[in-house]
Point group: C3
Chain length 249, copies 3
């Protein structure tokens, strides 16, 4: 099983599937998302962390790669139950650490010869896809063990007079998914940009059109409007936006 | 075969697939759509009705679920050739009735323990996906038979001096798909919001940029602009909008 | 293996998959894209040309079909390694020619009886999907050999005082993908609509927010803004737009 998570949007993922299936025609490929916001590595890391574990065991290709074509390394990280294939920019660090890192490898980019010439712009096709396909066939000869990888903390927040955290993801409903974890949510509600969000358990506890805060399926704090869009209400249209929250008790 | 139809947009469906494939690694999963408009149960019902029958036999997971986390029931409806798994809000009623309802079951939400803790916001992951996976393995021990389910009429229209019907779906081309059935389309054309739509058989019968009405692949009346957008022309950007049609003969 | 490339957007492709899998339950279906711009045959042809070859051997269904319901023919083109199934409007010509055309067939539209009645608007469902499914089962009795097919040149550009070429595709990042081929890119940069785009090898060679031109993964010239959108900068929001490029040396 190979999963794909990228910021590529449309078309490019279809090409990746062609590459994978040409090397391993029996590969089972599952799309997680291809709509990570452009170059938003933090969002990619957050969404990977909250999807990989719903697979028992899989090869996860996660490509949000502002450094494509530069010297940044391409990684294959083997963990207890999974393999993560990604650029070395922190996108898979917290997922790998959570599952338990066993070995970190650098991918030899010359495997792009299986596809064609190595492009400067689309290593999703030329490097990461053939790497996933080869690993799915238990071929590892293109991997060189290394010691370290880039780290990235998806749960970087501060509690002081106000809570400083981030909206990491805005879903299709306009819900604002923050990186403020469940364990620290102890108030009766939160004020963000002057708007009150009373804490409830689920959307249907308030009237249509009213604001609410809840613990979402990511186990973080979410700001929402029932059958409406908190994203529009607060003018936060994409992720990786710092917010300040005031508590009310 | 398991199909998925939701209003979840991006990312969340990938998690559902992880859950399903962790329980039944051999499941074949097909996406119908994940872009039903938020909370638009009628649109979900309409699109399910016009897709399920193109599968010979399948388990259809249909989740547009404004009542998630409340007391609304989760259903598994067994019909002649299919199984429908959905919240009890009418979304699968007409599809199930059309195929011939054999038995209606309530899903025991405690199957969410296969996934983790039951969330208050994402039963697509916690309840409906494991239910589909278990049923695909012919495991039924979490089902309790019930007598009734919620009903919803996707063909609710009125013929009087004017025709009162609904735009139920706006496709990517900007075509306005109504719920006014083929059998009742007998005019030379229709006037909607002051604009004339002459009835033809297919788009290419009028000039580029001109309006037209036709019987579409849903077997309902559709208002369209050749190589243009009727949605923009009439200012109808989403489904579940009541319209009035005047006939011209 | 069957691939799908259409301008259908959402929902309709799910129905196509139902049709295919009802005829051949073992078919493996891969989406290339369903977001070709409405009726943009040139873009469909360009994207098909740059995806089909990453599959070793497949049946490619490519439907951008402004002439649906008219007299235009439905084709199945057998090439050295692939089969292309498409309306006869040039969309698969250059791909088929590149791989080496062996035989061109007209599809008998009466195969729609496998699905239901032949609609006037959705031959993706009624004709092209059953054709792909039957061919994947090596059933060919609905094919009639013909001599010719429509042609379309995706690399139609002119070099004079200025270069006249086309933006054929705008990707999710806002990169402007032109049809001006790598072999002719010899300048230090290009000026388009008054904006300078210096030629580099990859995005990370310029500062965030700066313009650049490069040879992309399509092996054509691309105009880009690092971590930004050239589409917004130049006001080019969709493909099939003629542009003029001035060279700087």
């Amino acid at each position: 099983m190979i999963t794909l998570l990228t910021d590529f949007g449309d078309f490019y993922p279809g090409v990746m599937k062609g590459v994978i299936l040409s090397i391993n025609p029996n590969a089972k490929i599952v799309d997680i998302t291809h709509n990570v916001e452009p170059q938003n590595v933090l969002q990619g890391a957050f969404l990977l962390y909250h999807s990989y574990r719903y697979f028992k065991s899989a090869i996860h290709v996660a490509v949000v790669d502002p450094g494509v074509g530069s010297k940044r390394r391409a990684l294959a990280v083997f963990t207890k139950n999974h393999v993560f294939i990604a650029p070395d920019n922190g996108i898979c660090y917290q997922s790998a650490a959570k599952d338990g890192i066993k070995k970190i490898f650098r991918i030899d980019e010359s495997i792009s010869s299986l596809v064609g010439e190595l492009s400067y712009t689309f290593h999703g096709r030329d490097v990461f896809s053939p790497a996933a396909a080869l690993i799915s066939l238990q071929r590892y000869d293109f991997l060189e063990e290394i010691k370290e990888m880039e780290k990235l903390d998806i749960y970087d927040f501060k509690i002081g007079e106000k809570i400083k955290c981030k909206v990491v993801y805005v879903d299709k409903f306009g819900n604002l998914i923050t990186n403020f974890p469940k364990e620290f949510v102890k108030a009766k509600g939160y004020i963000c940009r002057g708007v009150k969000f009373p804490l409830v358990r689920t959307y249907s506890e308030v009237e249509v059109g009213e604001t609410l805060a809840l613990i979402n399926s990511f186990n973080t704090l979410e700001l929402s409007v029932r059958n409406g869009s908190a994203a529009e209400l607060l003018g936060i249209k994409r992720g990786n936006v710092e917010i300040e929250l005031e508590v009310f008790l």
